[in-house]
Symmetry: C3
Subunit: 672 residues, 3 copies
């Protein structure tokens, strides 16, 4: 495992935030850089929403103010992650070229006046975005401040579809490429149902308003198309940037489990991943859990590369009904959690809090209150100082022996209407992630076609859509000694949302050693008892089904009614490995009971045994191992380090046997 | 009472389902008919969504595949209820003739991509639908498989209005026919209110989006118009079919209490009624109750004719949030309930479960699991065998001495906004139907202009809109010896939703022997005590009012506040009969207390006294009487037959004195 | 204080209602005036929805029927508040001039068929409305019945915005006038944020549908514009009326706290204020409280002038889900409450209950039941007789020593999205009004730029937006000896919704003697303990914050977590006065605890100490004082008058020492 910094110029943890100097008179900029230096900032994301200020008509560009900003920053030792500024087109563009505006399924136009109102298939948007990127890249290609490119911003944050003429044409072209012939599309979409047969490509539309359920494969393909249409934009920008600045890495800020974008496809096209993390700090919302899942996803999307936490908030956001403020100490803990889970950068939205516009109540590194008198700015400075001590951590990685499968196609297909019951893919995945997070077992997210050989356990929650080749990959993994756990309503349909004939769960029946005849979904208030072997009674919900064992053995059985005595949880020995199947949904506590037993069997362990609510991770490079200990408790804890010892990097103290962490405290130990 | 089979060719209970062979390669068809024979299927509904496969442009029709299907079926002894295939126009039609597409009140277009997106007033839709029906009818007029026509499918299931230019024109034409002059319309609609006077027909629109309440008579007429506009389509098809095949009966599948369609008008235009029954099998949802009301309505719509249960599900549907599966035995019980309440056919949607499209998770006679290994298919076969034993039941009828008035005009008018409180017509009707269902008293639904002389009791729940001639019909019924029970907020308006002057309840004041001065609607959580005579205290809700007795006597009185001592329930002796009035709403248990007393008085009885949750019905023809006993309990019951004896048709056993029914068990006894 | 009647011709309490004779044959009119005389009616509002009946095309007017109505009324001693009839344009107008129709943010058109569907910026609407007003005013200028003009009706009751081309143009013109230059608009709107810079006025739109939060100042200006656009219509009508009938006073009926209209601006443009009061009579809804706040606002809008209760209901409305009926005695109590709080007129919607149209179930002075047999009409007659006894009260006023600030700009700005938490301006204001109402302390509503010198206490609830000049007004008020209480999230932004730099609460920091560093909004279920001095613990919710005292003293402190010991309630002595600040929200009971202490300090008292739920007010003119006592209890109360004595006007009895009021009883004592 080689240690390689994200950016060519640095082996520091990146620290800073979005910087929008165009909102302020230049007199404020000097104060900004003074405070940035004090805070230890080494990177800012610049120009994300600057299009309107950079270009006033088709031919007129104004870069001078940005030149001055770039010069000032680099003069003060601050690098720039320079945005391509395409996220929000200026009003003049959509007024002169109305095809820029996105149109929803009801035919309603999204106007300018907020942000991100463009249609990804608009020829005018594409033309002028490309021109802008060309201009910016050419102008700053050699600027010493430039260390990374920030393409666009939070793609698909607001607009999840467009049904205008250009999008309709683009969708048809995408389908022609995918299917080759109309006959293939008719077959995949099952247009024999409900009299939907297409005789000409011009008859095919995006899924607009209809009287009832739209053809599901049409919807599925539209979700694929839309992710691809935005990715085309991203690639268009990247190609320009790579041509002009081949050595500057590009990223675009992801948003964790954002349904509209298949980030697996996206991550391949950029140089490093980054994401924006906004867990709700309201008591009881478990922000640490939500954030940890985003870190693990973002890290997993680009294996072997650390990621950047591109945006988070120092205090509170402005877009929830109630926007709770992170209490003192919490921002530091969230920040170091990002590093603990594989991040090499901790940035914020934004540097200086706006006083105008829709986000003026979104917290910042410099808030409305005078910086010198501000608790928040004090914490920002303290964190900056601490991160400087962790430079050697950069480039180190996390090794996971557990993987959870996440597949956007399965997600999209699962959550379309007219299913046996209402599934929520993300919460199915989260239930398993939570178990591993709370037990301090490193976990990767993977696609079903990943080479899984390095994992001891793979979990596939509700993998409703599964292609044959991917099922074969899972089967091979088991036969070679892997353990897989599949949960109910997996393997139901193929690539085109067509049900696999011959009994559920389709291509997985042999792997799992069983087939499922029929389902008995449960009412929202219904519960079922499932007995684990001869012992513990577990509480199941949402789903039950009739499993016929063909080789697998029942580990647990339903206890009531028609399903009494039938398998609820099974294990199949296959080759050198084993395949487990959960034919219902367990509550979180009872799932833990079962998973505890499972990981004991497979010999998967946390790096260290710690009190509850203490997070433990291990980052490694070829030479060193860094043990992160994060206390999410509001009281101090004492941790028994067993045989571990080393240098605590934040305090620069040698540590042996045990360590005391204050409330919300963190330790980073370079292990001996 | 003559026994006359629904279809010329059969005196069997019809058994089968929707069959969509176009979704499958022809190789599957052979397997289909093999399994159909095994299941005892004798009828399938064919071609309901075949338009796109039958016609590829204005002039090109492709019937060969359907020919082969028809031939294969009849060769195997299976008859065909052939669809006119007009329910879902093909994409090419709406793309080439955009007037086909319906438009909602907000101006949003319904596109193709699901089903039923047509505007009923579209000239293009009408033209091409007529052409298609002509082609199909001509081609299959003499085909030996053809026994019935299935016009369109579930009219108004999804699209309940259209406001496009063609609909606007058609609405104006409908109004011109209804009112003759604009002045008459202005008067009926009360356009002197809110400055709505029309000076030209071109000023009259369908009730589109407005700032607040639309003119209520405009809305009411639009609901009438829309039901009529769809009925025009149905009659257009029927006229073509009758011209070409005068001997083949036509039907269209109804949907029980479907508000947009005035089924009383519709039933007159078809040869036999049929309906689609999808009660929710989730525990606690009382699917048997919901289904029984649909059977009783569908039977009542066409007096003297049995009906067909055209669609139901073997297991589970796919369009609810949670789609529970019918437990073993339940599908049989629901099926025999249809026969018990006057049905001569039991069909399913659909024969073979789809693997593509929006309904692939809707259960079927042949499910995704291999038929031979499927519980569901075993139950399908067993039911088919049982139904063969009930052939002689066909054509027999149910005699009811109780009628409940159901009037679509009253329903539409009642549920428009800006009423004293929010009424729900269907649940008012259902409260009374439930009483009679649970007490095994046969009940018909009737219109207020029905000849009521055969009934001992007529109930008119919340008959808000009532024409003078209909009120006279009710009055005459009472004077000749009938008993009527009217509930609150009846008789308020005339045909045009205009309040009747001179005190409520309008034309019924003399019949009821009272008038009502004013209303005191109750809050959602408010309760009132009503004392029945000097005895029982009943719990009233939703409504109270000031009744002035003018001949009637108070049976029960309010006990609180300003209404203390005033009548809540009255009886008026009139001629040979009596008219009762309920000036509030009782909870279900307290309503039973009152109705128990009432039917005792009138001497109305169930055919047999049975344990709770055992359903009893009696079907009769000129010669025979068939006693149906259905055990809805999950445990066995013993039933005392008293003096009844006869032949149990399912087991072919002689029965005397008593019979034991297993959980969910059914007996059909041909009485001696 | 001079006593001046509202209308030149009368020193009677005005009594009557909306009269719509066009809904009835003229034969009914004679009966109407007979009953009006019997009821004591002296004023009707005529012709409010008569446009369609008065004008049948661009050039044809039909006034004859209205002439006859006016003549008949005046012949019977009934005056007319004549409407300009512009509230609901006739169908022919919007069909021939479609620019009349309003269009919503989604681009959907509001059609005719209900009422108020016009766009305020429509040139055609403006042209034809002006023509109509000119015609009506000219025709009736000298008619002896005419005593007041009723402009339009309930402006903005339904349509709160329009985004059609004419509205877009008008919005641009309004902005050009406001800002002078685009650069000023760009600065005020903060268009540097999210790339919204405008280079040409044609790029500026009304805030239509956008992907996410619209620019907040754009929204704020649109709300200002829309209030102004409707006010322009009102002024256009008024100017015509004043030109033709300079001596006839004009009004338009307000609707209390109607967010779309800044009534402070409106009240300046009319001669007397009037409003429509429809509190929900359902038990538990506290209709008296809601009505009292509307009376106090309407009175405050035009200081020194009584107001008219232009509409209320005798019994029940028709537009709520459940429309409860006012119980006997309640209508009288609500009516006399209006007089008690400064009203010189008590009118109803409407005289005779409609039998057609959307409001036929809205109660009236003459209901559906025959008038002679109707409880409601009896109460109407009794009230009419009583009001005749109160003629000398007209013109007298209410003196308040307490004021609550209400500012529409602050309201609009506060309730736009993306705030720290969700505030409700009206309920913040209502919490304080309720306290003063329940303690019988007269209270005025005022703007922040009012001369406050006559008040002993001013409350400013959540005055989020505050201009510097207004803050200076408040500061000066305090320094001269006033007491002000400001609550949290006040003073945050300036006129353009731009945050004030240098710590919250902006321009008020010096006045309050503190500054606020940051906020900790609370979750919906979160509570905080606040300790008042060393004593009582109060329960706080919704909000907490970090207050830094700079001169102020803490009266109460937070007790938990990071805020433990920090100020929750402060007092700052400034000049001769004091400024209090509440840094959280208290529940109603705990707020009373604090306010009880505060008003004791400031020596504010009720006119009389009375049992709970007895309302006391005092109206005065230069010579006389009228003490109103209203018993809202459902049982009698005895009231100790202390040293007060006088003549009870309703019974014409001398009263001394004490008085007994029956349930819902009222006394009006002309004090000696």
């Amino acid at each position: 495992m080689p240690s390689k910094p994200l950016l060519a110029k640095t082996s520091q943890i990146l620290y800073g935030g979005d910087y929008n100097p165009e909102q302020w008179p230049e007199s404020v900029w000097e104060e900004d850089v003074r405070l940035m230096r004090r805070a230890g900032v080494n990177l800012v994301s610049l120009g994300i929403f600057s299009w309107a200020k950079l270009q006033s008509d088709e031919n007129t560009f104004t870069f001078e103010w940005l030149d001055r900003g770039m010069d000032l920053l680099v003069k003060n030792g601050i690098w720039v992650d320079l945005a391509t500024a395409t996220a929000s087109p200026p009003p003049w563009l959509s007024v002169r070229y109305p095809d820029v505006l996105a149109i929803d399924a009801d035919g309603r136009t999204y106007y300018h006046g907020s942000r991100q109102h463009y249609s990804p298939s608009s020829p005018s948007y594409r033309k002028f975005a490309a021109l802008l990127v060309e201009k910016i890249a050419s102008r700053y290609a050699k600027h010493p401040a430039l260390v990374a490119w920030h393409i666009n911003n939070e793609y698909a944050c607001h607009v999840h579809n467009c049904h205008g003429p250009a999008s309709t044409e683009a969708f048809r072209a995408w389908l022609q490429k995918r299917y080759g012939s109309l006959e293939a599309l008719n077959n995949a979409w099952g247009t024999a149902f409900w009299s939907q047969h297409y005789y000409d490509w011009s008859e095919v539309f995006t899924p607009r308003k209809t009287p009832t359920f739209v053809n599901p494969c049409q919807q599925l393909d539209f979700q694929r198309f839309f992710s691809d249409a935005l990715l085309e934009l991203c690639k268009m920008e990247r190609d320009i940037l790579r041509r002009i600045t081949p050595d500057i890495p590009v990223t675009t800020n992801f948003m964790s489990f954002l349904k509209p974008l298949n980030y697996w496809d996206w991550a391949k096209e950029i140089d490093f991943t980054s994401w924006d993390s906004y867990p709700d700090p309201l008591p009881g919302q478990r922000g640490d859990l939500v954030a940890s899942m985003g870190h693990d996803l973002t890290r997993s999307l680009k294996p072997g590369r650390p990621f950047v936490l591109m945006e988070q908030c120092t205090s509170h956001v402005n877009w929830r009904p109630v926007n709770a403020t992170k209490p003192p100490g919490s921002m530091r803990l969230y920040s170091l959690q990002a590093v603990a889970r594989g991040g090499d950068g901790v940035l914020f939205f934004q540097w200086r809090q706006s006083i105008r516009g829709a986000e003026k109540f979104h917290g910042a590194m410099v808030q409305h209150a005078p910086a010198e008198k501000s608790r928040v700015f004090q914490e920002v400075c303290a964190l900056g100082a601490e991160l400087k001590k962790l430079g050697q951590v950069t480039g180190s990685l996390i090794r996971s022996r557990v993987a959870v499968i996440v597949d956007w196609h399965a997600w999209w297909a699962l959550e379309m209407p007219s299913k046996p019951t209402e599934f929520n893919y993300q919460s199915s995945v989260a239930q398993f992630h939570r178990y591993f997070y709370e037990n301090n077992i490193a976990v990767d997210f993977v696609t079903p076609d990943t080479n899984l050989s390095s994992y001891a356990l793979v979990v596939a929650p509700t993998l409703y859509l599964l292609q044959e080749k991917d099922a074969q990959n899972l089967d091979a993994y088991v036969r070679k000694g892997g353990a897989i756990l599949v949960t109910c309503f997996s393997g139901i349909v193929d690539r085109d949302d067509n049900v696999l004939p011959g009994g559920y769960p389709g291509y997985l029946t042999k792997t799992l050693g069983l087939w499922v005849e029929e389902w008995f979904p449960l009412g929202l208030d219904e519960k079922r008892i499932v007995q684990f072997g001869k012992g513990k009674k577990l509480s199941a919900r949402k789903w039950s089904e009739v499993v016929h064992l063909e080789g697998a053995k029942a580990l647990a059985t339903f206890q009531e009614g028609y399903l009494k005595g039938r398998a609820a949880l099974t294990r199949n020995s296959l080759g050198k490995g084993e395949a487990l199947y959960l034919a219902t949904e367990l509550n979180t506590k009872d799932l833990s009971y079962f998973l505890d037993a499972l990981i004991r069997d497979i010999d998967i362990k946390a790096p260290l045994s710690v009190p509850t609510k203490v997070e433990v991770t291990l980052r490694e490079n070829g030479k060193k191992r860094f043990l992160f200990l994060l206390n999410h408790n509001k009281k101090p804890v004492r941790i028994d380090l067993k045989k571990n010892s080393g240098l605590e990097l934040l305090t620069h103290k040698k540590i042996k046997r045990q360590i005391q962490l204050p409330a919300l405290g963190v330790a980073v130990i370079e292990l001996d």
